[in-house]
Amino acid sequence: MSTDAERTPLDREVDAYVALIRQRYGERISDDDLPRLERAVRRLRTTAAEMAAFELANGDEPATAFTAGTGELP
């Protein structure tokens, strides 16, 4: 078990999301489920950070109405 001082910003972010999720769905998540939940949250926040490091400009639009072959809004 790491101490508070040893915990990384990612660890603390994962802790915060797990606490929120337990507040919302607590009765459905057993102690046995916790490692699985923490793993899922960690993956999402790790990959979110990976995406955040990718540079985007204000005008870069999402592929929300995706058209194959162009990647642009129709």
Partner: protein
Amino acid sequence: MTLDAHTYATAPMRKLGRMLRAGETTSAELTEHALQLLETRGRALNAVVTVTRDRALREAVRADAELAAGHDRGPLHGIPYGAKDLLATANIPTTWGAAPYRDQVFDFDATVIRKLEAAGAVLVAKLAMVELAGGMGYDAPDASFTGPGRTPWDTNRWSGGSSSGSGAAVGGRIVPFAIGSETSGSIMSPAANCGTTGLRPTYGRVSRHGAMALCWSLDKLGPLARTADDCGLVLGAIAGPDVADPTAVARRYRYAPDSERTEGFRFALPKGATDGIEDGVREAFEASLAVLRGMGTVEEVALPEFPYGAVIQHVIFGEASSAFDSLIASGGIADLTNPQDRVTPYALPACTAVDYLRAMRIRSKIAAALEGQMQGYDAMVAPTAARLAPPIDQPFNRDRPGGLPLIPAGNLAGQPAVSVPNGFGEDGLPTGLMLIGAAFTENRLLAAASAFQERTAWHLQLPPGVG
């Protein structure tokens, strides 16, 4: 009229069609073969959810009567097939591979099912799949209420997923073709693990009306079959616009193998395609490269750098969490089979709207970059899967994916891909060669895959005890 088991197991669709029209077999006979194999080999492989016997026999009788009367619906007329159990079929259960939906029955046929019926094909089974097409984060082959899908090459190894039954039923020579779906790898993976040919069409090429939604912006339907030519024949029947699916593109599709070249192809080989992959997969791929060089040119290219895995994870998680929000909110995921599937969906607050939109913004750049890179090439080539089929009783090791992220890349760009058998690794497990094309270039891709199959015999090999 007695169709021998070897012919049933090996004949491509055109040969079966010739036999039907020459009176050497009947659709009823083909269908009886399929029904018998579904109940035996199909059950042993955990490939089957529902055998649609009554509907199959009705459609087969009609197919034979029509051919006798001179009404020929084309190359699929009288051919039996199976459909992944996420396609709605009127008055037949459609379970989505998941216990919470095991009693679900629709009152209509999915557009693909309807089109195949119009083409004269005979639906013999609803085939097994990973629960909810794998969108809940499963971490082991057992993630289906029908049990882990088994590859016909070694029943202790996984068939791949999420179109597990479609792969096993075609690879096990139970049906000549099957329909699968792919969000990110769900046709390619079972094609490789089961030693079949699989086609992932361009996003929007095939209507998804009546198919379970996992991820609206990524889901695609496509065939698994014995040859690339068979896949083209099926695509010719199921592609096209559909007013019921706004993402189905307006452009018409015609499978036209005779108008495509058979050599002189230009292949792109992404740098690092064999990094971190298993020895048997690498050896098969290197042997395939020699074949591809005999068909044209192979040029090394650099795959554009993007966080492909991160982007597709957030696109799938964001959309799947919404598609199944009522199941999650009700606690119904507790009835899913795989323990990880029962927990991962609760992590949805950790995928924010901003994360999803960032993923979709990066996706636009990915699509543009990959389409641009395909200019000047007929296909990008790589091993379909970095590893041979894993044991059915062990969790996946997602920390060792191996190879390049071409499956997420191609799916994010909406590009078509074909996987063809290209050898065997350790323990006689099949390997796959993947060819990825620019959007809407299925005919060129299928021509290249067919040319490869003209020069090799991997797709003709039969699993132990078959045929």
